[in-house]
């Protein structure tokens, strides 16, 4: 309908550019809608952060923050997420500039691998915490801790599944226009989770090191 003006459209996130025709035109409302979803999700996270902040004292004599933070593991997790984000970025750049579907899938899987590293480390940390008796049933503080960190972990897990799904779609349909916009949105989601993680290590983990 509006192909004549499609080169003027632009949305946040990596713009495909007019060369991508329909996919670029479709992206505008779809990506805007996805941004709204992300912002709404951000408010949900904010609520978990707020409850965490109000529960700091509510340890009920159980383990507190300082008892469960393993700073090396957190640093590794942060690194894994950042590398994963970078690799996803490379995948979207490859898609935008006409690389083969194979290449795009390669970078996506690489990104997924680091995402899974993150999840693995996080699960290990959770198991360690549980071994120390820091289970969420122990206190209000631990409930808030597990729920906040766990909610982020759940988002990463969902994102990982979605990476597999879009890879399958690329394999099935090639880089069709709807698949392209889906990769773009997944990229926004993946980068967005980094931002939440910045909040988590700055609010939850690093203050725990205070002596």
């Amino acid at each position: 309908m509006t192909t004549s003006t499609s080169h003027l459209q632009s949305h946040p996130g990596l713009n495909l550019g007019a060369a991508h025709g329909q996919a670029h035109a479709d992206a505008e409302p779809v990506v805007f809608g996805f941004w709204i979803f992300l912002m709404s999700d951000l408010v949900t996270f904010a609520m978990f952060f707020a409850v965490y902040a109000t529960s700091l004292q509510a340890t009920a004599g159980g383990p507190g923050n300082a008892d469960i933070v393993d700073v090396t593991s957190i640093a590794l997790q942060t690194g894994a997420l950042l590398v994963s984000s970078l690799l996803f970025g490379i995948a979207t750049v490859a898609m935008k500039h006409g690389s083969a579907a194979r290449t795009v899938i390669f970078w996506l899987i690489a990104s997924l691998a680091f995402g899974l590293c993150f999840l693995g480390l996080e699960v290990r940390d959770f198991i360690d915490a549980a071994d120390k008796g820091a289970v969420p049933m122990r206190s209000g503080y631990l409930s808030a801790f597990w729920a906040l960190v766990g909610l982020h972990g759940l988002h990463v897990a969902v994102g990982s599944v979605m990476i597999l799904v879009v890879c399958t779609q690329i394999a099935f349909f090639g880089l069709a226009s709807d698949v392209k916009t889906r990769v773009l949105r997944l990229g926004l989601y993946w980068h967005f989770l980094d931002i939440i993680w910045i909040g988590i290590f700055s609010v939850v983990f690093l203050p725990g090191l205070l002596t």
């Binding site: 809608g33 979803f37 709404s40 949900t44 409850v51 509510a58 009920a60 049933m137 206190s139």
Partner: protein, 692 residues
């Protein structure tokens, strides 16, 4: 084994058999309601099968992505749930008449009634009504073919229906919560209510919340990105503005509800300690989070209603809305301010007076933009050629009552006064006083106004007007006395009282409640009578009230594709201006094109079926069913990405024929001069076209 298959569901949970186990009055009332639901369901199913209606239901309605049909389904769901809510209200009011002797219902049953009544009216009657109208009107008003994401729209409807279904199921199997619609822990925690009630609450609110959030997202994108050429922000009809603000509220206010429902579920299912009494739980977090959602929710319920009032006031006053810009600014101001006042719902929680005062002042500030709106409607009526149709009856009732509701709101915003009257019937009177005239009257009036647009015939004027009067009178008698008994000290939610001086008031309110029930009956009667006389009441021209905005510039019922060409507007109230200039009803272009409609989809039905099963299974701890339903939903969601349906193509010649037939009829159609618009002469063609 049995425990594995049925979870904690046992024979004792089948509430409709309670009456045979223990035939007390309370059980008879409870079980009758259950049986009514079951029989109603069976009758509907039988009708569907015998009359063959299941086929159109399945293939024209449940799989449609057409915003108009989805809107109608929302309103139908709302009406069904509204009927139940009114019935519960009447039962509660009769309880109060006998409450001096202890009442005829048990305290538990009474608590369940006010909990379901509140939950239903807010989430499954008023919200579906308003979201239904947003669906019906927004795309037409901004000159679009559909919403931005038609399939997502169906998904939203699906989740809303899931919540409503769970509430209906709770009538038959198990019990609903007894903790009120706000469900405050620790009373709703496992320690005090180990049963199914709060779990029903969690899943019906949680799942329908997803639907509402997606609706907000969908309409925000629709209004931002899908406006027709020339439809600048300041040319949008007021209803679209209010729909936009409501969408923004939905997007940002639902997350606290999601969060609080997740936390409450974790508390109840996995023994977390967010809101429990022991081990560091803090129920104040619940109140705080809940009302961060709850207060904007109030404006989700009222803003679109304000929009509807603005639209039809202009129509029936026969002039442009007065003070358009101030109305827009007031709407935006209310939307933003609504996020800053949540604490006034718990002034008595124990925080310092400074905090109470800050939130009290913020609350009073909202009265300013709201007051602006009331003046705008009055000023619109002022000097207009008002036609006293049913909507204006509702409007008159609304302006009068809403002023009272607003004043009592300002009283409640004052923390010191709030301390004395909070948790009394005064509060009950206040919020019914705002929500009934504010939202319900707007919805009922709008059903009258826009019914002909989507069904092709008007509603019977006499029946509609009777309904309006019954609602207004019933409302007056049902709720005004509650201010008095509230000030006299009767607490809300109390199943009994020990002061005989309340009794006369309670008899009056029961009379009012019965009158509202009669209004509900005449409302149904209106539909039946009008459907029978639909030939006589037909308005194929599509503009029975001399409308002003784009939705009236289409035939009735509106074709699936809405507009043959996307309109181009040059001013506010574009259709009214075109009619005045004599340029309406013209075919200016010849290049009719094929129109592709959004593909049909079954995702909505999948969500209804598996979402309800999921909720039910989680309530009764039937884990295998919960896992299977969740997997089914997930598989369908992922599968959607692999299915590539082509939408239905409407051929150019069909579009052209429809458009030409309609315009030809309009150009020779007999107009009315608006004084006899309720007579059979009104065929939905504007008067001015025959003059031109």
């Amino acid at each position: 084994m049995e425990h594995f298959i049925f979870g904690r569901l046992g024979w004792d949970d089948i509430a409709i058999f309670d009456v045979f186990r223990d035939p007390t009055v309370s059980n008879i009332v409870g079980s009758s309601a259950g049986w009514l639901a079951v029989i109603g369901g069976v009758v509907v199913a039988a009708l569907l099968l015998i009359k063959g209606w299941w086929r159109p239901l399945l293939f024209e309605w449940l799989n449609t992505t057409d915003h108009k049909k989805i809107g109608i389904m929302y309103i139908v769901v709302g009406l069904v749930m509204f009927a139940r809510g009114v019935a519960e209200g009447v039962v509660m009011r009769t309880q109060y008449v006998t409450a001096f002797e202890g009442g005829y219902l048990t305290a538990d049953h009474f608590s369940e009634l006010f909990s379901t009544h509140g939950t239903i009216m807010i989430f499954f009657a008023l919200m579906p009504f308003l979201i239904g109208f947003m669906n019906l009107l927004v795309p037409l008003m901004i000159g679009a073919r559909d919403v931005a994401f038609p399939r997502l729209n169906q998904i939203s409807l699906g989740f809303t229906i899931v919540g409503a279904m769970l509430l209906m199921v709770s009538l038959v199997i198990g019990k609903f919560a007894t903790g009120g619609w706000t469900g405050y822990p620790p009373y709703t925690g496992v320690a005090f209510q180990p049963g199914t009630g709060p779990d029903y609450w969690i899943w019906s609110l949680g799942l329908s919340g997803i639907g509402s959030l997606l609706t907000g997202l969908n309409f925000a994108v629709t209004i931002y990105k899908m406006r027709c050429p020339g439809m600048t922000y300041l040319r949008m009809p007021i209803f679209v503005w209010t729909a936009l603000c409501t969408s923004i509220l939905l997007i940002f206010a639902l997350p606290p509800l999601t969060a609080v429902v997740i936390m409450q579920a974790l508390d109840r299912y996995l023994d977390f300690h967010f809101f429990t009494n022991d081990l560091g739980g803090n129920m104040m977090n619940f109140a705080n989070l809940f009302w961060m959602f709850g207060h904007p929710e109030v404006y989700i319920l009222i803003l679109p209603a304000f929009g509807l009032y603005s639209e039809f006031t202009a129509i029936f006053a026969g002039k442009r809305i007065y003070g358009y810009t101030s109305l827009v600014i007031a709407t935006m101001a209310i939307a933003v301010l609504s996020f800053t006042v949540w604490l006034h719902h718990f002034f008595t929680m124990g925080q310092s007076p400074t905090i109470n005062v800050a939130f009290g002042i913020a609350t009073m500030l909202i009265a300013i933009p709201t007051g602006v709106k009331v003046y705008v409607w009055i000023a619109t009526l002022w000097g207009g050629r008002i036609r006293m149709r049913t909507p204006i009856i509702y409007l008159a009732g609304f302006i009068l009552f809403f002023a009272v509701g607003g004043y009592t709101g300002i009283l409640l915003a004052n923390p010191t006064i709030n301390f004395t009257v909070h948790n009394s019937q005064f509060v009950v009177a206040h919020f019914h006083n705002v929500l009934l005239p504010g939202t319900l009257f707007a919805v009922l009036a709008s059903i009258y106004v826009w019914f002909p647009k989507f069904f092709g015939f008007r509603l019977d004027e006499r029946w509609s007007a009777t309904t309006a009067w019954l609602f207004i009178i019933g409302f007056t008698f049902a709720f005004m006395p509650l201010y008095m008994v509230g000030l006299m000290g009767l607490p809300r939610r109390s199943p009994a009282f020990d002061d005989p001086s309340y009794i006369p008031y309670m008899i009056v309110t029961m009379g009012g409640a019965l009158c509202v029930f009669a209004a509900l009956c005449t409302l149904i009667g209106t539909f039946v009578v009008s459907a029978k006389r639909r030939e006589e009441l037909a308005v194929p021209g599509g503009d029975p009230w001399d409308g002003r905005t784009l939705e009236w510039a289409t035939p009735s019922p509106v074709p699936e594709w809405n507009f043959a060409f996307l309109p181009e507007v040059k001013c506010q109230d574009a259709f009214a201006v075109e009619k005045a200039q004599g340029s309406a009803y013209k075919i200016e272009r010849e290049d009719f094109e094929d129109i592709e409609l959004a593909p049909k989809s079954w995702i909505g039905l999948t969500i209804i079926v598996f979402g309800t099963l999921l909720g039910f299974a989680m309530v009764f701890w039937i884990w295998w069913l919960a896992v299977l339903s969740a997997l089914a939903l997930l598989a369908h969601a992922i599968g959607l990405g692999f299915v590539r349906d082509e939408g239905e193509i409407i051929p150019a010649d069909v579009v052209e024929r429809t458009e030409r037939d309609w315009i030809a009829a309009a150009r020779q159609g007999q107009g009315t001069d608006r004084t006899d618009e309720v007579s059979a002469r009104n065929r939905g063609f504007s008067a001015r076209i025959t003059e031109a």
